[in-house]
Symmetry: C2
Subunit: 264 residues, 2 copies
């Protein structure tokens, strides 16, 4: 029996609940103010190429922390943590295809696995809201619209591809503020990559996103495009690796680090 | 016969001169405004651990660019470049010991080598001077004083150790400005790690640096300590790897990227 409402739980309490299998849903809106992280787990043989890919493409692939090989713990973003159980839901990919969705990856664990924690736009959305900027996908309770672009990434070993971006419509008079707020957070994608001209990056219809949901763009609003964390997952899947684990969309790790700390 | 004075040569002209073996001295003060880079070349088998070490310790180990395995060229910091000839002087280390100093590493090249270009405090010193802050080691025409500290680095695979810092005395009334100027340049070590209290980081005598030269500290000046690029070299040498190449101190790569670009 839980004593506190879910929304009042701190990150450690939440991770315990999730670890025990008592919470398996999305983490959006939980542990307000704390950084949530994406997950990519790869065999060591792919880890160098992927780390190099992230180093060369930090805006779409901002690495928050990397585990030691075979290790299910972290040092910086959480201490009381078990990477094999503390995400509410995981996806197992084999040969580039989704094989199953599970709430624990304990039985899949291998000694050659490396876990990459990747920054997520949840963190900068909460800073935008704190700065008085409406985030439409949050207001409309839908996923942020995401688009494939024609922006080539820097290749690294096996990994290559184009950037995926997320779009948020911002009132014209708040565009500069939105740039300033997000530019201050390079560990969670940072500044936008394009403002107001979707055609230039190969996007033809804002109402038909490649991932997530369409949102309303009101008169006087400018569509703003940020590098998106779907980018590294896309690049990995194109390689069709034998074995990859990711978090399930929206089912993130709640860390002990506050969003505001990501500015420093 | 050179037609222009050395100080007026741009980065491409300088690299050509160096590539042809016609300039083999220090690069300090050359191609003013352009970023100069440190070099570490490691066999691929050590590259993952080293990249992870740099990712976990970005302040002392800021990576500017990493070559593809076996490749002597770059994509971002210089295009017309040959990493085996464009540094005026290189050091070859075998089993952790300096074996020789050469002006070309062409004959040492191996297909398993990875080159790491690392940010250098030359870049932020030029921004400090532009902001009206005297950099004592430049005024005195000596090397910056550098010290071993008790600040532990985050371990990564084989690599570990303590941070090495550089010290610059700054007038009390300019300390905040000096922090702001360098904090804006995280790709070249960023903000200081300690201000005014050397004992706290294990430094007992500012007139006896572990590397470089002592500088005068005038009345009303505060010693400020920045993470230093000697840190990764130290961490590598402690592992005593079979084969490592670095630039010779002060003999850097002059890149095509302006220092001011490192802010973005």
């Amino acid at each position: 029996m839980r004593l506190k409402p879910l929304k009042e739980l701190g990150p450690v309490e939440l991770r315990h609940l999730i670890r025990e299998g008592k919470y398996t849903k999305q983490t959006s809106g939980l542990a307000a103010g704390y950084t949530q992280a994406n997950l990519v787990i790869l065999p060591k043989e792919l880890a160098y190429d992927f780390l190099l890919f992230a180093q060369r493409n930090p805006a779409p692939c901002p690495i928050l922390e990397i585990s030691d090989v075979g290790n299910r713990t972290l040092s910086d973003f959480a201490t009381d943590v078990d990477l094999a159980n503390d995400f509410p839901k995981y996806r197992i990919y084999r040969h580039g295809k989704l094989a199953e969705e599970v709430t624990s990856i304990e039985s899949f664990w291998r000694r050659d696995l490396v876990s990459f924690l990747i920054g997520c736009s949840f963190s900068f959305e909460s800073e935008l809201i704190a700065a008085g900027i409406e985030v439409r996908n949050i207001t409309q309770h839908v996923n942020v619209p995401m688009f494939n672009t024609n922006i080539p990434l820097k290749k690294a070993g096996k990994f290559h591809g184009n950037m995926v971006v997320s779009m948020r419509p911002i009132p014209e008079e708040q565009v500069i503020k939105a740039i300033k707020v997000t530019a201050a957070m390079p560990k969670v994608h940072g500044a936008p990559i394009q403002i107001g001209n979707p055609e230039q990056i190969g996007i033809s219809n804002l109402q038909e996103p490649d991932y997530g949901d369409a949102v309303e763009i009101k008169s006087g609003e400018v569509p703003i495009f940020w590098p998106c964390g779907v980018t590294p997952q896309n690049a990995i899947m194109q390689v069709k690796p034998d074995f990859v684990i990711t978090h399930s969309p929206g089912h993130m790790l709640v860390t002990d680090i506050k969003n505001v700390e990501l500015k420093y």
